[in-house]
Subunit: 240 residues, 2 copies
């Protein structure tokens, strides 16, 4: 990949993923949106609802990648510790912020619920952060430095991704082709390897599958230059 | 969690997950099997098909956790670089091994395919590793130190997990209950937080959901002592 392409990482905060209770959906959603935006998702980490683990992971990812997205742990209950951990990671104090409190107060007044102490926790934002709009359930996410802190509930996570993405500088979107070949990976590995050497500017991945007892391979060719991707795909089809 | 409970981490090696092409299935499968076995999955990382990224992640996870599982990158094509990266991570030479070559030779003789140079790559195993049985497509995984290196194709990954799990020392399986409460997280946060303080030996997670325009919360209580889990669940139901 050219160095100019912007990069991102994701931190999933959630015991429910690590225990097998929930199958991840947010990572898959974000990966697709970033690819469309021309941003390379370079790494994902999943950690438990543990203060020190979140602090260490946020620091490491924030240093290594252009942008970081987190999901999970910003609700009103005792296990929602993300805001404090993010604050600790960057040495930022965390307290109830008036603009966030106002958003919540108006929302709960409208819906007839009480803005109790638990719900007020969702207005606790690290100093220096900006809020991320949450059109689904109002309680905001926030951005501090290069880290976007978002909810774990998929509908809310997706809405926050939609709020944040237009603020990021995207890269040239990649063009990709997927070619299904009815031969096993072992049969096509040599010509595919040679093709990959002829097109060092493209990425070529091979994904074996098994269907009706037969082996096949999907070959995905990806790159910034659509003409090169087409040329390589044509060569692949002629070869095999 | 008591310190005696064995821990594990997973490293997913795969551009196809990070690009959004494929939704992860292996992490979810492994998380469930480990929970059943009484082993805590503490961290997952997803990295791209990049030598240095794999080396760094394997070393970090191998040091931090009792056991590490990797998935992906052990096939016959040019993008299958896991065996070399794992070897590099532990300073172990990687070469074709006779027992692995024999497995492949017998398999391809049986199925009428050629054991060509590409397929022979799948017999390249780091020095000092032991093989992991692959009843699905024969090409073995391998175990070196505390790292189990397995295929990314879900059917093969699952078969290898089944081969490896009986060799691990499990912990006391956790008992868990899931209680559906038809109130939003913000309404139950205070009593739930108090309950969590009364049962510090248990983990209590709250997972909000939205259905037919109403908010609700699933509360998951988890612990080693089934009687304590039952007692806390009864208290939860009486409270709310």
């Amino acid at each position: 990949m050219p160095a100019a392409r912007p990069t991102a990482a994701m931190l999933v905060i959630g015991d429910e993923i690590l225990s097998g209770r929930t199958r991840d959906a947010n990572m898959h959603h974000l990966a697709g949106r970033l690819t469309e935006a021309g941003i390379t998702l370079g790494e994902v980490r999943v950690v438990s609802d543990d203060h020190d683990a979140i602090v260490a992971a946020v620091r490491a990812l924030s240093e290594a990648w252009d942008t970081v997205f987190t999901s999970g742990g910003i609700g009103p209950t005792h296990d929602d510790i993300t805001a404090d951990a993010i604050g600790a990671a960057f040495g930022a104090a965390v307290d109830v912020r008036e603009d966030a409190r106002t958003l919540l107060a108006e929302h709960y007044a409208r819906t007839g619920s009480e803005l109790n102490a638990a719900r007020l926790r969702m207005a606790r934002i690290p100093e220096g952060a900006t809020l991320i709009d949450n059109p689904v359930s109002i309680a905001p996410g926030f951005t501090i430095r290069n880290v976007h802190v978002m909810a774990g509930v998929p509908a809310v996570f997706q809405a926050m991704v939609a709020s944040v993405l237009p603020t990021l500088t995207g890269g040239v979107p990649l063009t990709s082709t997927s070619t299904r070949i009815d031969r096993g990976e072992g049969d096509i590995a040599a010509p595919l390897g040679a093709l990959a050497q002829d097109f060092p500017d493209l990425s070529m991945g091979s994904y074996p599958f098994q269907k009706d007892g037969k082996f096949g391979t999907n070959v995905v060719i990806r790159g910034e230059d659509a003409a090169r991707v087409e040329a390589a795909t044509a060569r692949l089809k002629a070869l095999l």
